[in-house]
Structures are given as structure tokens and as C-alpha cells.
Symmetry: C2
């Protein structure tokens, strides 16, 4: 039995879902993988809680349900310590980074992840900001760095995992890197923002935009700042990560041509349907000469297209390849739990390295 | 740069496709993965060819295109040596097993894989027979054996890989084992036989059964014995492998309830469509009490179902889970090359162990 000491930074929807699955999946982790997770620290915007013997996920969930910070946890809680302070000093194996996305500075997640990796701590991200802004830097500090003689065995570097960052539980990165290893990907199309997919499909059904958005927020699926969803920036940050990790093209958010859904009307959507097409907020990686053109914009697709035939609750990716046909995948999710499940699979991937 | 010495047993559609991609992907393998493959031996029904310095894939392809055996290869070819004889004596790193499926005895592939693993040689299979009949035995000889203290590190065992065995390039096994690690799979639905999918979708369009089958054979997609496809046995062998490797349920072909497509008419298919359903040859794993019921049979699904909305050239799998939503994937392939690409990704997976 191997125990991994984890630090959970960020106790919003995803962080709390992770606490829930730490409890619900504990027996499966022990029996199938011979692994236990010990939560040695947790952080939110109000402070931190630390306990080398392991914090109780249920106690933290109870506090959060009452709108309080982990700083209020009796005995282990303290205010006035930032996530990066915590990561600088804590003795732990894996940082789980689930603080709100900030696509301008990447903070506080970016500093926390930098610090963790530099200390040799593995990092599992659900927060896209650090990778959308600084993928190359973070990869170089980890086992995701570009392979070379000098760097030696990737296993000598701390692990950097982010399968939760590219469409909830959709295994976008794993399919691109692992299942298409040896093939050349010639084109990528994806629908990676669940909020706008839900809104557009609801609008097709006559639901007003504002009501559709409110529903996605009620379900805990929208970004803390929903303009990140509807203006296309969440999707763009995911495409940035995909371009780096799967297409091996150094990319930052600034490289993506972005247009969101705010200009679309129900009439637009229905006109497309009448033509046998469905408008989706499409993430596209398209080779033009030597470089890949990256964009996020509303795009009509034939109704038979894998991304046009999805339901309102699905996200998906399509990889076109030279020798491996066309691989597509979709995820159906209606709450944040699958995103937390993706963090858990990353933890298990690290354990199996 | 690391060179892997490979033995390719089976030079039918898949084996020949592998020879083709050995050439086409050589540069990518060197640049991205710093790997080279050296074909030290090849076997077909007429004999073997052996060259420690590496056989020329192009020379073998030329012979096969002229209907000849590798035994005719000048200098390196010999008749009268069986694949298992070869595997017993050859110095190599990886056996690629792509001989025709035999669901009664599993031979000659089963003995070849046993012999390879016992000699510490890794095995990559496109041939489903050995696994459908003897998964537990082969897994126990390899890194796929059930984890325990006694067995130690899986990496001390030879690798057993078979991602090419469960729907061409569809990453069925990888999604089930790696992307759903930590989750519980509660139900599996899949369409894993491309020949019957193509036939049924063509029949819906008014094409006669016999013509539809002939087209799948022309494309090189049907099994050497097409009754394996249309009677459901190919799909059943894939479900057997899935049940073992993903659901961790010891299973042999005899455990699957099987009914093929030979009783279906175009009228049946069109009546389903009129009801808003599509009939597919469905592989199903359904928990009933403590055990999982496994079946392959024609099944109507709502047109919105991920497996009902696929085209004639697609295969797919749907995993229903507790914490990770519903994950589905499809592959679009029109020739055997993606199956060979799956063998290549397995080789790279072994290299990265």
C-alpha cells in the first residue's frame, strides 16, 4: 500500500468534488491500485489548513457548505497564508491545483505550480490559466519537457498532469499523445466548453440566452466569470493546452483567433439546422503550410459530424490522422464531478509512472 | 536512439499495413520518440525470413504482392519453420502477432505469444484469438497480470499489449483502464465489428446483404472467415477482451451470449428507423447483481445514442461510470491501416514503460 500526501489548492466546485470522491473512491483505490491519499493541506481564498496526519475531507466539505474558509478548521486552520506560501513549505507529494482560472496573470495557480515543480512535487491541474499562459516554462520544469539526451529519463522530473483542463473528463490529451503515438495528426476539431454548448443547444430549443446561461451556472459548470465561457476564452485556453501538449507547437493564448457566441441568435442557429447544419463553438487546429492556424469561433458543421451530433450536455474532440483514421471522443457530464475524476486519474497515472 | 528488434508473425492485411507504416513513420519515430524498429524476422503460412541486421519491409511487401511467401526471400527466407519455432529461437525484443484469428484453438498465435512471453519477449497482438480463449494465462505471464506483492513491479514482466484487438484503432482498452482509472464503470455498450456495421448501414440504404459483405471484403476489413463477423464471434471476442482487461472480470468466449446479424432484413432495419431507432450489433456488459452479463446481439438504440448516430464506417464504445460521466469514443476507418497503427502505438507504449 502506497500513501500519497496531497495538497488541494482551491475549494470551489471542482475542489469540493475532489474531496467527495476522495471519500467515495477510497476503497476502490485501496483494492484495485493499493493506493491511499492523505490530504495534508488544503487552501482556499481565506487561508489554509494543514495536518501531516491528514485532514478530514468531510469536515472541510461541511465548512465550505456553510460558506466558511478552511482557515476556520479547529486546530489545523490558519488565515493569512497564501497558496504559494503553503506550497513553498509543505511536505507533500502532489499539488492539486484547482483555484479559479485567471487568464491575465495565471495567479495564484501559476506561482503555486512553479513552486511545486521546482521543489520536486508533482502537480495535477484543473486550472487552465497557468498552462494557457506558461506551458513551455512549466513543461520544462517537469516530465512533460521536450525529450532530449540532457534531460535524461522523464521519470527523474516531477510529473505535470492536466487531463482535467481540456474538457472535463474528456481524455483529449491522452488520446492525442498516447493513442495516436506514431501517427501524425493532420487536423483537430473540438467543442471543449460545456457552458456554450449547453447555451447554444438550449437556444435552438427556444430558451432565452440569459436563462440558458443561468442554468449552466446553477449546475456549477460555468466559469466563475462566465464571460470566459461565452467570449470563447475558456475554449481558447483549452485549445492552447492541446496545441502544446498534443501538436507539440509552442503556443500561448495570444496565438488563438477567438470569437465567442455573443453575436449569435436563435434565428442563426435555426437557419443552420434548416440547411442540415449545426453551429457549435468550434476549437480548430488547421495546418496551413508549415504552421498550424488556431481558432475558436462559432462554426456550422454538417449534422452527421461527430461534434454536431452531440447533445447539449456533451463536449468532444475529433483527431484526423495519417495512419490511424479519424478518432473522436465525447464526454457527457452535467456537474463538476467528472473534472475532479480527471484529477484523480492523473494522480493514479503519477502513481503508476 | 533506441532500437527495438521486432518479429512480425502474420503477413495478411494487418501485417502488410504494419510493414508499410514501418517505412512511412520511420522519420517520425526517430525524431519524436528517438526510436528505431529493426525487423529481425517475419513469418507467414509458408515459412519465415530472418536477418539480425534487419529485413527490408519493401522487399517483403513486394513478395506478398506477388502472392509469395517470405520463405522466398533470397538469403534470409526458409520454409518449414513455424511461427512458434521462430519465436522459440529468435533474439528479439517484441513479437507482433497478426496471424488469422482462430477462435477454436487460438493457434498458431496462442503458442507464439505464450512462447514469447515465457522467453521475456514483449508481445503486441492484433490477433484476438489468444486473448479471447486464454486471457488469464497470458496476462499472468506478463505485466498485465493481477497486481500483487508477490509479482512485484509490473515492469519486471514482459509487456502484453492488444489495443489493436478491440475495434481497429479505437482506444477501447486505454480509455477503460487509464482514462477511467479511479472510477467505477457501471455499464459498457459498444459496436466493435466494422464489417457488420458496414453491412447493416448499407442494407438500410437498400444494398443487398451479399453485396454489402463483398464490399467489406474488398476493403480488407472482413475477417479471413467472414462468418466470424456476421455470426457475432468477432464482436464477442472483442467483448471478451474488454471484460477481462477493463472490467477485471475473468472471461472467455464461452461466457458471451451471442447472436449475429444473419436473421435481420432491410425491413427490420427500416422499421426501427421509423420508430426513431437504429439497430446495431451491440456488445453489452451489464451488471446484474454481483456479476456482469455479457452479450452480443442486434439491438435497437435511439438515434441520439452515440452508437446509433455513427456512420457506416465507424465503430465505437460507450462507458457509463459513477464519477466520470459517460465517456464515448468512435473510430472512422476504411482499411486495415489503423489496426496496424494501433500495433505501432503499443510498441511505443512499451518503449515508454
Amino acid at each position: 500500500m502506497r500513501t500519497y500526501r496531497i495538497v488541494l489548492s482551491g475549494l470551489g466546485n471542482v475542489g469540493r468534488s475532489f474531496l467527495t470522491i476522495m471519500q467515495s473512491q477510497a476503497t476502490l483505490l485501496a483494492r484495485r491500485y493499493r493506493i491511499a491519499l492523505r490530504l495534508v493541506a488544503a487552501a482556499d481564498s481565506g487561508g489554509v489548513a494543514i495536518d501531516a496526519g491528514g485532514l478530514d475531507p468531510a469536515a472541510i466539505l461541511a465548512l465550505k457548505q456553510h460558506g466558511r474558509s478552511v482557515a476556520a478548521l479547529p486546530g489545523s486552520g490558519t488565515s493569512g497564508i497564501s497558496p504559494v506560501d503553503l506550497v513553498r513549505r509543505i511536505e507533500a507529494d502532489i499539488l492539486l491545483e484547482a483555484t479559479p482560472v485567471n487568464l491575465t496573470t495565471g495567479q495564484p495557480g501559476l506561482d503555486a505550480v512553479r513552486t511545486a515543480l521546482r521543489r520536486g512535487m508533482h502537480a495535477v491541474l484543473a486550472n487552465k490559466g497557468p498552462l494557457a499562459l506558461a506551458y513551455a516554462e512549466l513543461a520544462a520544469l517537469s516530465d512533460m519537457g521536450e525529450d532530449s539526451e540532457e534531460r535524461g529519463d522523464p521519470r527523474d522530473w516531477p510529473a505535470l498532469r492536466f487531463s482535467a483542463c481540456v474538457g472535463g473528463a474528456l481524455p483529449t490529451i491522452a488520446i492525442g499523445r498516447r493513442d495516436l503515438a506514431g501517427a501524425t495528426i493532420v487536423r483537430v476539431e473540438a467543442v471543449l466548453n460545456g457552458t456554450t454548448q449547453g447555451i447554444l443547444r438550449a437556444m435552438e430549443q427556444g430558451v432565452a440566452y440569459a436563462d440558458a446561461l443561468a442554468e449552466m451556472q446553477r449546475r456549477g459548470l460555468a466559469e466563475t466569470d462566465p464571460s470566459l465561457d461565452v467570449e470563447g476564452w475558456d475554449a481558447a485556453s483549452k485549445l492552447t493546452i492541446l496545441a502544446n501538449a498534443v501538436l507539440h507547437r509552442p503556443t500561448t493564448l495570444a496565438d488563438i483567433h477567438v470569437r465567442g457566441i455573443t453575436g449569435l441568435t436563435t434565428a442563426d442557429l435555426r437557419a443552420a439546422l434548416a440547411r442540415g447544419e449545426r453551429i457549435v463553438l468550434l476549437c480548430l487546429a488547421e495546418y496551413r503550410g508549415d504552421d498550424v492556424h488556431l481558432s475558436v469561433q462559432p462554426t456550422p458543421l454538417p449534422l452527421t459530424h461527430p461534434l454536431a451530433r452531440m447533445s447539449a450536455d456533451e463536449m468532444g474532440v475529433v483527431y484526423y490522422t495519417d495512419i490511424s483514421g479519424r478518432q473522436s471522443a465525447t464526454t457527457l457530464e452535467t456537474d463538476p464531478m467528472p473534472t475532479a475524476a480527471a484529477m484523480l486519474r492523473d494522480v493514479l497515472d503519477i502513481a503508476r509512472r
